[in-house]
Subunit: 201 residues, 2 copies
């Protein structure tokens, strides 16, 4: 729903975006298996022909939705921190906050984890993406030279973070982004390793 595009790609993306949004709503209402292409175009107020211009079928739309959201999540982690939020500390760096911020901004999508018959692959690929971000975008530094299997440590902290995120989403985002981030910071302090964004070098 945002910024730059050169002419025609703007219209294309806009339509795809609307079809995705329609799918999200219908997944919540009816579930993945019972949603039809007709349901989607009716909800999004497009012609059925238009759907097939953009996607082969329901499956391709669902995959596009999942992939674009998870890629957005990855990308958001690497972005410079948005000013105005002062929770950015030495222990928990900007990327983690960006993840939280991205999820909240797109909460309409991430709420899909609360449903059974939901986006195929969401329940497995969402945590995998968190792990991927931890593996690729964070550097972990030892505090007191205690040796630790770094791969295991990253998995451990990534899935720990995911657990908190999952709970936050399932609870309907009852606490604010700032409150949530502070919870995470408090827990992070108990670790022997501090972690750091790779961009800080």
């Amino acid at each position: 729903m945002n910024n730059e595009q050169n002419s025609t790609s703007g219209r294309q993306n806009r339509t795809k975006e609307h079809l995705k949004q329609a799918l999200i709503e219908l997944l919540k209402e009816k579930g993945y298996h019972t949603v039809t292409v007709k349901n989607i175009v009716d909800y999004a107020a497009y012609n059925r022909s238009t759907f097939y211009i953009h996607y082969q079928d329901k499956v391709e739309l669902a995959e596009d939705l999942l992939i674009s959201m998870l890629q957005g999540l990855e990308a958001s982690a690497g972005k410079p921190h948005v000013p105005g939020h002062k929770v950015y500390t030495a222990t928990l760096h900007a990327p983690s906050f960006n993840i939280v911020s991205y999820i909240y901004k797109n909460r309409n999508f991430f709420e899909l984890i609360n449903y059974d018959d939901t986006l195929p692959g969401l329940h497995t690929r969402f945590p995998q993406t968190i792990l991927k971000i931890y593996q690729e975008q964070f550097i972990f530094e030892t505090i007191n030279n205690i040796p630790v299997n770094m791969d295991y440590f990253k998995r451990y902290t990534a899935y720990g973070f995911y657990g908190l995120l999952h709970n936050w989403i399932q609870d309907g985002f009852r606490i604010t982004q700032e409150e949530f981030i502070h919870e995470v910071i408090d827990l992070t302090k108990t670790h022997m390793y501090s972690f750091k964004y790779i961009g800080d070098h």
Copy 2:
């Protein structure tokens, strides 16, 4: 963003809808006076020419937004009650619940009351619409034959209801629709008059 339209009007309305949504977001970000037509089309990903096809200027868009939302509010009050919600009682009839339901559904818009430099006319016309609904769509029946100036009574209850709505919105919808409606019902019980939807005749 919903259902029926015959062909071309679908595209028209869709575009107008997007321009309105863009305006809502930008009102929150920048305020009414500093928002430009360019801001709006940039945000909504349209060409500036497209804007002038649909609206004369920013003012006309703002009026369309305000009027359409308030008309929607009026219309929602008269609609049959949606099943699935069981708060519908003898004291507070379906229309009141529909109002609450409509506001919550469109909370993104109604949050605009939290801003100073917001939609022109919103702060005055919103409560006026509530009053209008009370005047036109409700019948008030005396319980124990105590005479009351009915016009005053309608104003009193309408603005009382508005006060609660305003608080609910300003608080960021912290309680659910059901909880809110029950608050209203409790307060309504203290009245000597019961009110009734005109449709019940």
